[in-house]
Every structure is written in structure tokens, then in C-alpha cells.
Symmetry: C2
Subunit: 338 residues, 2 copies
Amino acid sequence: MPERKGQYTVMLSGRPTILGFASVVGKREGEGPLGRGFDMVFEDTTLGEKSWEKAESAMQREAFTRALNKAEISPSQVNYLFAGDLLNQNIASTFGLREFGVPILGQFGACSTMAQTLSLAAIFVDSGAADICGAVTSSHFCSAERQFRFPLEYGGQRPPTAQWTVTGAGSIIVGLGGSGVRIADVTIGYITDLGITDSNNMGAAMAPAAAETIAAYLKDAAAKPDDFDLIVTGDLGSVGSDLLRQLMERKGYPLGGNYTDCGLLIYDRDKQDVHAGGSGCGCSAAVLCSYILGKMGAGELKNVLFIATGALMSPTSTQQGESIPGIAHLVHLVAMEP
Amino acid sequence: MPERKGQYTVMLSGRPTILGFASVVGKREGEGPLGRGFDMVFEDTTLGEKSWEKAESAMQREAFTRALNKAEISPSQVNYLFAGDLLNQNIASTFGLREFGVPILGQFGACSTMAQTLSLAAIFVDSGAADICGAVTSSHFCSAERQFRFPLEYGGQRPPTAQWTVTGAGSIIVGLGGSGVRIADVTIGYITDLGITDSNNMGAAMAPAAAETIAAYLKDAAAKPDDFDLIVTGDLGSVGSDLLRQLMERKGYPLGGNYTDCGLLIYDRDKQDVHAGGSGCGCSAAVLCSYILGKMGAGELKNVLFIATGALMSPTSTQQGESIPGIAHLVHLVAMEP
């Protein structure tokens, strides 16, 4: 059963576990350093669909199907799906997951969605509200550029602080009694806004939220950063993760060599032209559902803090002069003893 | 603790209750038949803000603040806020609720958002994951028209099947130990899509989803429609609620005189030019958080099924030829014995 631990954290004492996980990505992500770890790499990032939005939906469908298969679970056994994406009105999730007939609760946390959906799935299973839940999210470079910045055909220039939206999707099936990785704690973040207005510098907008959530968890759990094998943020990229290190130092929780960011892991920034690194819901989802959970399953990582970060803006809010509020949700993952 | 009941329903045995609720609306809604029941009517639907989107945010802030005050709860006592709206990337919620510093889980269920946020708040409280949760949603006629159809300045004609997006917001505070109305059961719906493609006929797109969810609940609870004082859907309007009656008849659960729809209650369709009735997240939110919960508090209604319905589309999905998938979530509300 879930139990409050400190001010912001919920401890999941019923040991909800990850029964299956899968990630699918586009060509560029497949060519990056984690390429071999993904379940599927689509060389054609249209996935044979007629629009980028439909391609993104197809990626969610594929990731969820593969996670189900790996968990040996049928869709009808899943009580709830928590799913979301970056597109207006969550259409990647709606049209990607429509056919499964599973009760669905659409989530919006911008790029924090993988942590948000996994948190809800774990809390529902731990509480008895569900036996099995699914968490799914995605992003697609081409649908995100069209929606948030410029259509690709415009050929806009990107400043060095800009991040590259990952084409990818990840899905996790949560239930009881698995032997792999369990979700031990969850910390849901509040909105943090230090007034960043540059939508080409999302890392800086999200770093303060990540700092607040990590510090809240460490305080609630009476823990310190080097208690963990890995502390990994969602998609702060190079600018945001440098800033996070500074903010955590000031908070009295300096981050060491065990800290990294999914946006830095997914691409080779020297060889791939991605500026400040990867971003998008699909970034942290694909890295979690390949590299991180893979290493946890292999016993190479045992105690991990996964913090996905989101920039809660829309083109309309930016055009109306609003700043970019950030949010971050944390999931504490523990590899179970064999 | 939450317990599964049948295939789709969760029974909340810990008796989570509504500690406070509030609704705020625009001028037209204030002039309708429920006008006296709202906590606040804004004669100026800009709320003094520079954009319709900011006005919608201000309504969420106002509704949440009033619900907190009526519950005699401070924002720092609220563990989680579940909030969402119709705007791209949920900006009405983000910018409306940013200042409260409450951990927030953004929700997207289109016009089903009031039932979705209330369901999650109730499950979290019942499970022990939270002591107190808030649920908030809104819609604004002017921001919705600009985003989903045409800017007001265009002066587009609306067909008779079109509904009128309610300018309004509602908020509910859920905790344990209140003496008013408790949330007894929750049924989360799955996506239902019968191929409606006319975004001026949302009621028809959503009615099949409402029928699926109501029938699922009645089956799980071994109940029949006339066990309830009131069965009220979110915003099917006249076209959709007629269709729902037909669908329920076919399913063997004919709806009687205890059935109505929030989209039919909020306006006087003879005197107010709203075509098929009200719609939008704010429609069911404002009607629930005034008329329905008011009557339950006064002992005039004891046993109510509230089913908010959503059309999970975006202008992009419609332009790309997709149909309009519907969803409906159900909350079973019971007035506690005095």
C-alpha cells in the first residue's frame, strides 16, 4: 500500500514491479551510442504512415505491444493505461492506443510524461486499484518541430542551446510479483518557474524543477546523492544538466560521477548534429526502456533515481509573453535480489 | 482502500469525501437556469486579462481558491492537484495553478476531465497515497473557438448539431472524514470510436463511449438505471443524449426520467442561442460543482452517477481525416447520512 514519506514522497510498500518494457526509435537514435539496446529501430521514420503524427501514434502502438509481449500479458489483462505525448490534445496516444480497448487516463506532463505515467501505474498497482497497468509515451522530431517551432520545410536555424527532439517511444507494464525491477518510491513535482522565456533553451527552464524534486526526495528519504548507482534526469541536455549540478551544489546535495542525463546519453554529440542533446517525452522513455532497465536487469545497476523533466509551455503561451514553467517527477527504482 | 469490482470498476471502501467544491462561470452561463448556483459569475469574460487563454487560467485559479476556502484547507495541505483543460499542452491549468506550489499531475481527457481528475483524486486519497487532493478543470468559449474551430472575429456559422463551449471552471477538494458527499465507485472508460468525423457533432461522437461506460458500471455493480436518483452525462447535448437513450435501450438498460445531461441543464435552449447545448470541460465541472453537489448537500439527491464525456480529437487529427474517438469516465457519488 502507498504510504506518505516526508512532505512530497510516496513509498510503495507493496513492491509493484516492472513486468515488461520496450522502446522503439527512429534512424538517428538507432545510430547513436545506445542503438543496440532498443527493441526496434525504424529506418523510415514515417513508419509507412501518411503524416508525422500518425507515425508517432504507430510508435506508441509498437512500444506498448512489445512491452506486453515481453511481459506475456494480453491487452485485456491491463486495467489502466496511462499515456501521453507532446502533441496537441494528446493525439499520438489517442490514435496509437485506441484499438486496444483498455481503459485509458490521458496524461500531460510534457517531457516528464514517462515518470508521470510510470508513477501513476505503480501507485495504482500498489494500492489495489489495479492489478496491471501500462505506461506509454512518445515524441517524434518531425511532429514536434511542426507543432512547437517551424515545419521542417521552412529550414529554420537552431541555436546551440536548442535540443533535438527524440523520435522514439517507450512503454512499461507494471504489476505485482515480477522478479526484475521494483518501483520503490515516487515524488511528484510542483511547477517551478524562474522566468526563462526562450523556447530554444528548454534545459535551463527545466533544471530548477529537477533540482526541487531531487532535493525534495533526498530530504524525504533522508538520503544523499551518492547512495545511488545512478541519478538520471530526463532531458536537460548539456545546458540544463550543467545548471542542475550548480543548483544541487547550492542546495547542499552536490551531484557526483553517478549523475547523467538521458539527453546526453542517447546521441553522440560529437558526431551527431544535435546541439545541446536530446529532448522530448520519447527521450527519457527510450533511454529508460533500454539502457537503464537493461542494466538493472543485468545486475549492473541496483539503485536508480529516474527524474523526467517537462517544460509546460505551448506556442500560444510563448507568443503571449509567458515564461516557460518547468516540472519534474522522480521514480526510485530498485533491482530486486535474484 | 481501492478494491476492484467487476471488470472495469473500482470501489473506494475508505470513503473519500468531497471536502469543498466551487464553480465560476461567464456571463452567458450566469444568465442560464443554474445561474444562482454558481459561486461567481464574471460579467466580463476576459476577467481583466489580455487574452482568452489567460482568462481561462484565471478561472481555474479562482475555482480552486474558492474550493479550498470552502473546505478550509490551505494549498500547502493539498498533496496533489489533478488538473487539465482543452487548450494545447494544458496551458490553462499550468498557468492558472502555477503559483500554488502544489505537486501537479496534468490530465487530458478532453471534456471528460472533471470525472477523470475527481476519480484520480478519490483513488489517491482512498489508497493512502494522499491525504488531500484537488481536482480542477475549465473551458472558455473564446479560447476553444479560436483553437478548435475559427477565431471569433471570423464570424463562422454554426450548424444546429454544434454545441456551445461553456465558459466556466470547477474544482473539488477530496479528503477523508468529510460529512457531505462521498465518492463510492469509479469506472474509467476505454476509447470508443464509431467513425464520426464531424467536429460540429461532438455529442454523437461521445454518446457511444458514455453508453459503454455506463453499461460497464451497471454490470460491475449489478445495478440498474432506476437505482439512482440522477444519472447525468457531461456534455452530450441534445443530439448526443437522444442517441445515448437509444444505445442504452439496445443494451438492455433503458434510461428513464432520472437521466439528463449537463449540456442541457446549463442553458435555456429556447432563450439562449446555444444550438444543441453546452459542452467543454467547464460544462460538466460547473454543473457538478453547483447544481448537483448542491442538491446532494441539501439532501434532495442521494445516489448519483456522474459521467463526463470527452471527444479525443485535435484540429490536426480532423484535418488528417481521422474520426473522433470518444471516452467517458463515471463517478458514483453518494450523499452521506446526516
